[in-house]
């Protein structure tokens, strides 16, 4: 699970390219944190300090940023993220029933990860696909117009 906290030379070149796009290289902090999370699995304090070093920032500044945004994980996460929207339009379309169904199927509560590390289940705020409620983000994809059957099918595809 824990990859070494070190970018490859190619990744370091990408960091420099991203930093060069902004009038102040700090503008590239969010994109580089996305890269770090993709590479290291999650953003540990060690990863935060490593990224801070690439930006001449204090680890405290990077920690403040990481803890502010919902897409950065400070703990190991599942290999797949199932993030069910439970804002108003999805609520009206049965998002709570869908969440309870997923909790039963996966044997975890929202906010938790299955013991085998396969799936992290989240309830999240509006993902702005209200025309297809209820919906969820499964990793990079938006899964729309969900039903219990459809979500079971999606779960079976997650390895």
């Amino acid at each position: 699970m824990s990859a070494p906290i070190q970018f490859t030379p190619a990744q370091l070149a990408e960091v420099r390219r991203l930093q060069g796009l902004y009038p102040d290289k700090r503008g590239a902090l969010l994109p580089v944190l996305h890269m770090a999370q993709d590479s290291f699995g999650y953003l540990s304090l060690e990863a935060e300090a490593y990224v801070a070093g690439l930006f001449d920032l204090s680890p405290a500044h990077v920690h403040e940023v990481v803890t502010f945004y919902t897409l950065y994980f400070q703990q190991p996460k599942g290999r797949h993220i199932v993030a069910v929207c439970h804002n108003l339009s999805c609520h009206l379309a049965g998002a709570q029933d869908l969440l309870r169904h997923l909790e039963t199927r996966l044997g975890i509560q929202r906010g938790e990860t299955t013991e085998d590390g396969r799936v992290t289940l989240q309830a999240v705020e509006c993902l702005c696909a209200c025309e297809a409620a209820p919906m969820a983000q499964v990793d990079d994809r938006y899964e729309l117009n969900l039903t219990a059957e459809k979500v079971d099918r999606i779960l079976r595809g997650l390895t």
Partner: protein, 400 residues
């Protein structure tokens, strides 16, 4: 939306086939001041939420400034009930790029940023591919560059100064205004922040003229806009209509009410808009029409509720949302959103008292206008209107 029907609408070839980039050709023969004037005359008003006149915003860039000016596109769509910008990024990315090119000329900017919410991975890929096409075709990179930037999950970054903080590599805390971004914005330089849909309106304005666009709307707001309609309607989706359409007509356009078939209430302009009852839907869906009706058009996210919907439960959903998304910078917002969520929670779960309702109204009103940004003022809209207009429903859940 003129290009949405084509399956390849996101490609440069398809966009060009529909006379795409013709407006940019024309704009290059016009002086920057003339472009600003044209957009002013079109009565285009910001479509992200605030409804500020776009041309006037552009004119705030100091004339004497000699350093860089930045154009920042707010693609951090997050207002509950809104999904139009997602459609534009995925299906009409070149309309945004063309709008950026023209706007950059108008405000004399050489560098633009497009801040896309972190969850929008597919729209981000689509838009990035379109930017690459535009570079390869020589549309970008000749005096104007575009950086596509991904956010990381925070509703407050849709607030323009919160967005700028985030773009600068910080947590997305809004900044005190003045100075406004047009004077001191991204990286300390004059910056114009416009919504995706707003900029997509610019090419047709330049191509067909300000008068044509102005005539599509009302006296004080030009054009059509994209209404996101969801909730209990037969055909939820994005509808492009004149801003003079009424809410009643829009609901009919979306196939009418489902569920019980009897309308109870409608959110007209995204989660932060005051709710309207079934007999208040003859309001026109423009900035001033909604304002006169005591609500706001905001991002034009319309959420329809039929008779079977529990209004207290709907308020609990929004109260949880505001408590979760408050950035924590200003005390009235940070504290009140948390308290109010807890109070609505206990009412919905049968442990509330009737005087809790007045406490919520009191807390909500006291915080209004005391914070750095409009987030808390937005939260107040639902707190007050849901309770005032559906008080009986809340009281029925209370013990005494």
């Amino acid at each position: 939306m003129r290009n949405f029907a084509r399956t390849d609408s996101h490609t440069l070839a398809s966009y060009r086939g529909a006379s795409g980039y013709a407006a940019w050709q024309k704009a290059q023969t016009m002086e920057p001041a003339a472009l600003v004037e044209e957009v002013k005359k079109s009565n285009l008003r910001g479509l992200g939420g605030a409804g500020f006149p776009t041309g006037m915003k552009w004119s705030f860039i100091p004339k004497t400034h000699t350093g860089p000016v930045y154009l920042v596109v707010n693609a951090d769509e997050g207002e509950p009930g809104t999904f139009k910008d997602r459609y534009l990024l995925e299906r009409d990315p070149h309309a945004l790029i063309e709008g950026m090119l023209i706007t950059a000329r108008a405000i004399r900017s050489a560098l633009g940023f497009v801040y896309i919410r972190g969850e929008y991975v597919q729209p981000w890929r689509r838009f990035s591919a379109a930017v690459k096409e535009a570079y390869d075709a020589g549309l970008l990179g000749k005096g104007f560059d575009v950086v596509v930037h991904r956010g990381a999950g925070a509703y407050i970054c849709g607030e323009e100064t919160g967005l700028l903080s985030s773009l600068e590599g910080k947590k997305g805390w809004p900044k005190i205004k003045p100075p406004f971004p047009a004077i001191k914005g991204a990286f300390g330089q004059p910056t114009i922040v416009n919504n995706v849909e707003t900029l997509c309106c610019v090419p047709p304005i330049i191509e067909r003229g300000a008068a044509w666009f102005a005539d599509l709307g009302t006296k004080t707001q030009g054009g059509t806009r994209m209404y996101s309609v969801s909730g209990r309607v037969k055909k939820p989706g994005v509808y492009e209509e004149s801003v003079s359409i009424t809410l009643r007509q829009l609901i009919e356009r979306a196939g009418g009410v489902t569920g019980t078939g009897r309308l109870k209430a409608v959110v007209p302009g995204g989660g932060s808009a005051a709710i309207l009852t079934a007999d208040e839907i003859d309001v026109t869906m423009d900035v001033d029409g909604c304002r006169a009706a005591g609500t706001m058009i905001g991002s034009a996210g319309v959420i329809v509720m039929d008779e079977s919907v529990s209004i207290p439960e709907a308020l609990l959903v929004l109260a949880r949302f505001y408590a979760h998304e408050s950035c924590g910078q200003c005390t009235p917002c940070r504290e009140s959103t948390g308290w109010i969520e807890k109070m609505v929670h206990r009412i919905v779960h049968g442990h509330g008292r009737k005087d809790d309702l007045d406490t919520i109204l009191d807390v909500a009103k006291r915080g209004g206008g005391t914070t750095i940004c409009a987030f808390y003022d937005g939260a107040i809209g639902p707190y007050i209107s849901y309770i005032q207009k559906f008080r009986g429903e809340f009281e029925a859940l209370c013990r005494a």
